[in-house]
Symmetry: C3
């Protein structure tokens, strides 16, 4: 078994779900490891990773709305608000989802399902550039 | 280090938690890799994976009830309802739990705790067959 | 590629977030594997793992408060209350977070971000000793 690592840099235009499946697939396809395990790791505490439906845009809008309501913004709701009203909700949404995801790879292709897309879930209103570590181990 | 991969197909009889520990354990035990890391990956967006208490059935009933209330069904709650009232709640419950889990393996046995069972969390009322990729890497 | 495994035992003094980054970093640093993937696995159903902000203590207090309100204690709320009012909320908080986390390692250092700390999220009022399996695979 061998391994390869890469830091993918992405920047969402707005708060919400940004699909990164194509960028991930491209890097995996360019490696000499055909079968194994791909792990993605998001190096941030106010953005996370999510595998979700990639067909209907309404699913993503409902998802964003659900998390906005589950971890709402609001004066006096949180002790920590150093960076604005979206600061603490961003940490909560990150805690409720994942910063790490692993996806099996076979014959150079991600084994994710037909309807599964890989998303960066950006939780800040003014997105900065985000680093996602990609690690592939296999043969 | 070597690796092995397998697609486990399971079908829940109803919505809720279906224990798959025995099926997973059986596959791991039949591999020639004694120690390493087992990764499970659920190839769907309306079913997920959960490690939870395997002793008291009441825990599972409370868990199902909690997620039903956290991501409720209801006319007008969601923009996306193409496949019925359980459609969008299924995506939300999947987002709140995991589609991927890794469990260490030592001496051919899962290193999960005494009370930890591995569950498919089926979120649709009319369950279809689900594919869970099992990947074991070790030696 | 090679692998190493270790069981880290930790005990929180109280319910809530206990940072374990230093203990994890120390074990990783003592291994002869410089680059690879570290996986942490919590062998319990009433304690979980979380990567979160390690700078502002207020973030952790808000996180604990949020999960306490999302999965509240209360007479009659749950069918399962064998071990007291914090029993079922502990299982729910575990389900909403993770029992497994993987973090890439490069040149002997965790690739987690500047502000990311690794935490045991203890959900019981009377914490017992917790076992976290550490597994490092790489070269």
């Amino acid at each position: 078994m061998r391994q390869a690592m890469h830091v993918l840099k992405v920047r969402a235009k707005r708060r919400g779900l940004l699909e990164i499946t194509a960028e991930v697939r491209q890097w995996v396809g360019s490696q000499s490891i055909a079968s194994g395990m791909l792990t993605l790791f998001c190096r941030h505490t106010s953005a996370s990773l999510l595998i979700q439906e990639n067909a209907a845009p309404a699913v993503r809008r409902d998802l964003e709305k659900f998390f906005d309501e589950l971890a709402p913004e609001g004066a006096g709701l949180y002790e920590h608000d150093d960076e604005g009203p979206d600061d603490m909700p961003a940490h909560l949404k990150t805690a409720l989802t994942q910063v790490q995801l692993s996806v099996p790879v076979m014959d150079g292709r991600l084994m994710s399902g037909t309807w599964q897309g890989i998303y960066l879930f950006e939780h800040r209103d003014q997105p900065s550039s985000r680093e996602i570590v990609l690690h592939l181990a296999g043969e």
